[in-house]
Amino acid sequence: MIGLKGQVLRAGLLASVLMVGSAFAASADTIKIGVFGPFTGDAAATGAAEREAVDLAIKEKNAAGGIRGNKIEAIYADDAGKPEEAVNVAKRLTARDNVVIMIGSISSPASLAASQVAAQSHTAQIVVSGTAQKITTMGNKWVFRSPVPDTKLAGDLAGFIHEKFPNVKKVAFLYVNDDFGRGGFEKFKEGGKKYGIEIVDEERYARGDIDFTAQLGRIKASPAQALVEWSRYAEGALVAKQFVQMNMTMPRFGCDGVAIPKYVELGGDAVNGVFYMTHYSSATAANIPAAQSFIAKFKKAYSKVPNAYHSEAYDAITMALLAIEKAGSEDRSKVRDALSKVSFESTRGPFKFDAKGDPTLVTHVVKIVNGKETNGRDIPVQK
């Protein structure tokens, strides 16, 4: 009790010093673009991909003289994949760093959380990999999306199964129990109805799970003729391994979460034969010139092949730069309006936004054959 007086005093002083001393001014002669995503935490790998792609594009642009003579500067902010942090960093980017436009985040909840800040601060936001349909259907005109929404991916996948595997009518659906997996599940259920494809077994797992024996066991015991899976690559690779361990043989279909070379690397032989839906794959990019030059540039810079996250992020930054150029000023609403009308050759084909802010891209199917990505749409109809 004796020390209480002092404690209260110190608490107050420390708090006020921390709070007051927290402003720092930002320099004004560059065009700032806010880039946020999970640079730490469980999804740090995807955040790193976003960063690599943005870095590459900005270096290029600056080497070419920037925009209106100004250099472009990316302000990176880590949301650790958490919605709470995403709100924080979005506020920081828009209020403290005065960015012209924001790119991010990777996960749908973090993107959704940040989109409120985008609307409040009148800053356009380009979501890099959040595929949840909801992001663009909330009536928020400030949010745009680089990837195609899960509705289209799942619907197209159902169509592909119907077209190439006409006998498959009963499927088991395995998904990661978060927005990403749940979105895929809901949309596939809807999309499948059109073709008479029924989900006879629904299995979930938690993000970061490593043991899928229980889920696969239930699927094996169910009447399903095929497995549709909405996983990210790390869990997806383990599912594949355990699928093989259990001597399961049904056809497997995945989503853009596994559209990453790491999936094949981690899964090894076990992923052979998997089909997955994606908006981008080096296997299907052969006739897209922008993709070819992107792959070449990327290989030169990082000596590896870009994955779907890279291409989505690269397209996002490309359209952001285009919009700033077209807007003719750094005014956020002008940039937003310019962005909504943007039209260019992206790494995933001709790019345009629809009224909601979603791209009008075509989707691709990849089949993994001997550890290589091949164009899945080329396969004959399976009897």
Partner: protein, 325 residues
């Protein structure tokens, strides 16, 4: 006790958003104050009653979702939703009554289990919680016809709640109730011999802590205006525990300080980029070593050292060759 100093602290917290007008910082300050409310509640559990709980984020989440659902679905006015969130959260803490008698390390793991269960309910029961997408567009707080839309308004709301919670807990700690809790934490058998029902008091302590966390959750819901189950995992519980221990076990001002430091420290460390979390980890470890009582115990330590240095320096100049510590 020291009204002048309390006023000074209050004044400095009150002017902080007026001096720092950037809305981002005002937002973060608000988050820090909400963290302080959370830490105060946990301080009662851990610091006063010696109950190591790793499930405080569960109560925080329950309060947040209740408040958001009430205002969004049923149009309940904010003030009412805020209070109901606190009360209902407190009631849910009664679920823990059977486990309060567990020894400390088992209690820690059991409360962690409680947190995981609550998290999974928030995640899986879409009809009530919006599932993994969470709840969007939670309305800003309305008070007596005013809509608190700016960061600064919400900050002052949080500050007001913090002050009330602080004063309330301060009163509790210095009452028969608080003495009973501290007695339990120091010697359960002796406390029972003094007529204290261990289970009842531990349960009441959880009740009060949950009430506080529920209020903090409600504030968070209307401050961040977006709720997602991922913000209420046991990682959050651990973060709150770190706030309390860093601030100093058993000290209410310490809890406030710990929360502010833990929320703001990563913001300051952001410029150190990749090394940020490593530095954060080191700071936590070092702080645990330099001061028994966390931040609350740090300053008297420093003043002691300073005084000792000064006296030894003067002793040195007076009588060279004889230095006593």
């Amino acid at each position: 006790m020291q009204p002048a100093i309390r006023l000074l602290v209050l004044a400095s917290l009150a002017v902080a958003p007026l001096i720092q007008t950037n809305t981002y910082w005002q937002h973060v300050f608000g988050v820090a104050l909400i963290g302080a409310i959370l830490a105060l509640g946990l301080q009662l559990l851990v610091g006063m009653a010696g109950l190591l709980s790793l499930g405080q984020a569960a109560f925080y989440g329950i309060g947040a979702y209740i408040s958001a659902a009430l205002t969004m679905r049923f149009g309940v006015p904010f003030i009412l939703a805020f209070l109901i969130a606190g009360v209902v959260t407190a009631i849910t803490s009664l679920l823990l009554v059977p486990i309060v008698k567990l020894p400390s390390s088992s209690l820690a793991v059991a409360t962690l289990g409680f947190n995981i269960i609550v998290y999974l309910i928030l995640l899986n029961e879409d009809w009530a919680t919006g599932g993994s997408f969470g709840l969007l567009d939670v309305p800003p707080p309305h008070i007596f016809g005013y809509e608190l839309t700016t960061e600064r308004d919400v900050y002052f709301l949080c500050l007001a709640v913090l002050v009330l919670v602080y004063l309330g807990l301060d009163r509790l700690v210095h009452s028969r109730f608080g003495r009973a809790l501290r007695a339990i934490s120091q010697d359960e058998d002796a406390a029972r011999a003094c007529g204290i029902s261990i289970i009842r008091y531990k349960s009441k302590c959880f009740l009060v802590a949950a009430f506080t966390a529920g209020l903090a959750g409600s504030l968070y819901a209307h401050h961040a205006r977006y709720l997602n189950p991922n913000d209420f995992t046991f990682n959050k519980s651990i973060e709150i525990l770190i706030m309390v221990v860093v601030g100093g076990l058993g000290s209410l001002p310490g809890a406030v300080m710990g929360a502010i430091v833990i929320v703001l420290m990563p913001e300051f460390l952001r410029s150190s980029g990749e090394l940020r979390l490593i530095l954060f980890g080191f700071l936590v470890v070092v702080l645990m070593g330099v001061s028994r009582g966390g931040l609350a115990g740090l300053a008297p330590l420093l003043t002691q050292r300073m005084a000792r240095l000064r006296s030894s320096a003067s002793a040195k100049s007076a009588e060279p060759g004889e230095i006593k510590s």
